[in-house]
């Protein structure tokens, strides 16, 4: 076992070395003290930190415009806190999640890690991140301060592992110029199924395929995810033991979406990003896309666009959403001061999440969301109502790969390789095997 540990560390050291070389370090290096005390209830839960100076490493996946805003916030924090120096390392999200476990087990991982809500359970079950119940308690954060779904998403086995920073739902983007050309009122985007199909018919008459259906996770898969919930379906049963995305509502939702291609409202074989590029160049009128595109569209003055909550196509409102959470990484040798400092940082950034909203995300904290300053951020604020009915992915360890199976099933349906029913049935069969594997692996 000891030998294994050693070789494992040596192997992983390689990858981490490469990662560190690519890192963006803001703060300089100082001498962090290392008292070998136990972590867990370190510090006073993030109220303040008066100990010796600590250096904290933070990892995130904010590679877009949001990354700059995040770094500015960190710089501000560092100037306000002389005894805490936070340095930021940014990876692509996909690389990020594959690098993190190795880095942590080799002892070169970060102190604070930003994580999507649906990844929390996986990393909590794997013992990568520590419990944060005391942070929530000391800071008197409770469900009331956050949107309930987002707040509950930070829990795993009734313990808190993540402090939510924001939520990012799918929004309904509409190209005003294209709508105008088709004789539609660009200030009145469709909100119901009838309005939506009527608008698509008008667009078709003007020679525009109005709603390009992408077969990929971004954005077609997330569109289908939203519609499935609008039809009243669920991806999994309540215990996340069985996949249910082949239920009748799911098949109906999928059929509705795929039929748009057959009816000529979308071209077939839409490529990755082609739906969004067509939207920007005036070949596509409607695009259901992430809230993060607001910043990109703001940089394109030629595009006349608007954003609204997703129209209600099914029997209820629903929208795909996810949330960024702060987590504290468990270290091989725990350092109480570092944990205490990390909690101060998390609390501070949570309070300053209005600035984060300017990065194109809805702040998780209610007081920030209800402030006048946030309301002034017109576009981001337009999507805040979706918080009430946002459909977040469920919390279960190892669910990431199972959700990819869901997206792949949709891919086959949207590319007309299989009928919606067949594609979803096959997907569910595979997902159930994956869920069973996960149960064996994580033991629940």
């Amino acid at each position: 076992m000891i030998q294994n540990e050693l070789s494992r560390r040596r192997l992983l050291g390689l990858g981490v070395g490469l990662g560190a070389a690519a890192s963006l370090t803001l703060a300089g290096c100082g001498g962090g003290s290392s008292s070998p005390d136990r972590a867990g209830s370190a510090g006073n839960g993030g109220k303040d930190y008066t100990g010796p100076k600590v250096d904290l490493k933070l990892w995130n996946g904010f590679t877009g415009g949001d990354g700059e805003i995040f770094k500015t916030l960190v710089q501000q924090f560092n100037t306000e806190h002389q005894n805490i120096a936070v340095s930021v390392v940014t990876y692509e999200w996909a690389d990020y999640y594959s690098k993190l476990p190795g880095a942590v087990s080799s002892g070169s991982g970060p102190d604070i890690a930003v994580m999507h809500m649906d990844q929390l359970a996986t990393f909590a079950a794997r013992g990568t991140i520590s419990e944060l119940d005391d942070v929530a308690k000391t800071l008197e954060l409770s469900e009331g301060d956050f949107a309930p779904t987002v707040w509950k998403g930070g829990l795993y086995n009734e313990k808190r592992y993540g402090i939510p920073l924001d939520m990012h739902p799918l929004g309904f983007y509409y190209n005003k110029a294209v709508m105008q050309k088709a004789g539609l009122d660009p200030e009145k985007p469709p909100t119901t199924r009838d309005e939506y199909t009527a608008a698509l018919t008008e667009l078709k008459k003007s020679g525009v395929q109005g709603f390009w259906v992408s077969p990929f996770q971004f954005t077609g898969g997330m569109t289908f995810y939203s519609l499935l919930h609008q039809w009243g379906g669920k991806l999994f049963d309540d215990e996340v033991a069985k996949a249910t995305f082949n239920s009748d509502p799911a098949v109906e939702a999928c059929t509705w979406l795929v039929d748009l291609i057959k009816q000529g409202h979308s071209p077939a074989n839409v490529g990755q990003d082609a739906d969004y590029l067509a939207f920007k160049s005036g070949k596509n009128a409607f695009n259901w896309n992430g809230i993060w595109q607001i910043n990109d569209l703001k940089k394109s003055p030629n595009v006349q666009w608007g954003v609204a909550p997703l129209p209600q196509i099914g029997s209820q409102q629903a929208a795909w959403a996810n949330s960024h959470n702060f987590t504290i990484v468990k270290q091989r040798s725990a350092n109480e001061n570092k944990v205490a400092g990390a909690k101060v940082f998390i609390n501070w950034l949570s309070e300053h999440s209005l600035d984060w909203a300017k990065g194109g995300q809805v702040p998780a904290r209610k007081e920030v969301r209800e402030s006048a300053e946030f309301k002034a951020l017109t576009e981001v604020n337009a999507l805040a109502p979706e918080l009430e009915y946002a459909a977040f992915p469920p919390a279960a360890p190892g669910l990431g790969e199972v959700i990819l199976t869901f997206y792949n099933a949709f891919n086959e349906a949207a590319l007309n390789k299989k009928s919606p029913k067949q594609a979803l049935d096959d997907g569910v069969a595979k997902a159930n095997k994956q869920l069973e594997d996960n149960r064996k692996k994580y033991g629940n």
Partner: protein
């Protein structure tokens, strides 16, 4: 110093070295360890970064191995059995990825062996602008897979891409789903890879062609051999070792296809263009199941070893 002289002495046309007897003892003693000393730097690197990881990988493949979960039970050949039992969660994905890599290799290797040979023959002639063309054909190879992947994904896009636009302009079908449906996705992947890497193989052939003595061609000509005969009886035999190298490295490179599929087709439709290496990366680094990923790697390496051995045997047989 003594070694240099000894090497010189091995040549038939070299003059007898001076001071041979005086230094003989030293040289002979050096002889025994010298080869190993020269081999040592590589041997150490190979041991640490080649052999040890391979053995460790085999060891991992016999366990239910997760980088972080403390419990790593020994499960014997279960990981291998999962690859062959249709009840396991990975069976379908695994064999579909083997199929994808197989298709890609089957179509890309012949093209990558033949087209560069043709290119090399053309570039070996003397004509104005030869250096320019040599550089032009090699140029794509210096680009990274991310660059060519993104570039071609947008060029090949069914609805917005330049390729379909151009095809439409000349009266051909303009709605071919180059990256989202088979067989088109395979044509795209193989085509892009040939465009990307054929310059490399061509340069190797070119070096091989320049190694063939011109006298052989002259002699063949005197004996009345035509262009085809000269190619068949002088060029091909002269290139045999080079061809073996090109074929072996091309098969291995094609079997390792990953970046093109990830970026250009993203596995679509469904998972049909998801390749073996991609599957192994997902299993090991996305799903953190190092045991299964290692079993896949070992099995895949064995398959490639068999192919390579057959390959060598085939060429050696012909030589005899």
């Amino acid at each position: 110093m003594a070694d240099v002289i000894e090497v010189g002495a091995a040549r038939n046309d070299a003059p007898p070295p001076a001071g041979r007897t005086r230094r003989r003892g030293v040289t002979e003693r050096g002889n025994r360890s010298t080869p190993y000393l020269f081999l040592a730097p590589y041997l150490v690197l190979f041991g640490v970064f080649g052999l040890a990881p391979i053995l460790f990988g085999v060891w991992i493949s016999l366990h239910q191995w997760d980088l972080q979960l403390p419990n790593r039970p020994f499960i014997g050949l279960d990981n291998y059995q999962d690859l062959f039992s249709s009840d396991s969660a990975i069976y379908g994905d695994w064999w579909s990825s083997v199929r994808a890599t197989g298709i890609f290799t089957l179509f890309s290797v012949p093209l990558l062996v033949v087209i560069p040979l043709g290119l090399a023959l053309l570039l070996n002639r003397s004509f104005p602008g030869r250096t320019f063309f040599r550089a032009a054909f090699f140029a794509p190879y210096v680009l990274g897979v991310a660059v060519i992947g993104l570039l071609w994904r947008f060029l090949l896009d069914a609805n917005l891409g330049l390729v379909n636009r151009v095809l439409g302009a000349v009266g051909l079908p303009s709605d071919t789903p180059w990256v989202t449906d088979v067989p088109w996705a395979w044509i795209s992947l193989v085509g892009v890879t040939v465009w990307w890497t054929c310059g490399f193989n061509a340069v190797i052939y070119l070096a091989g062609l320049q190694d063939i003595a011109p006298e052989l061609y002259e002699a063949a000509k005197v004996d009345g051999a035509g262009g085809w005969d000269r190619f068949r009886h002088v060029t091909i035999p002269g290139l045999r070792p080079v061809m073996l190298f090109v074929l072996t490295t091309t098969i291995l490179a094609s079997a390792n296809v990953f970046g093109q599929a990830l970026l250009i087709t993203q596995g679509a439709p469904g998972e049909q263009t998801r390749t073996v290496v991609w599957r192994i990366v997902d299993e090991g680094l996305r799903d953190y199941d190092a045991g299964r990923a290692a079993a896949m790697s070992v099995f895949f390496a064995l398959m490639l070893a068999v192919v390579s051995v057959v390959n060598f045997r085939l060429f050696r047989y012909r030589e005899d």
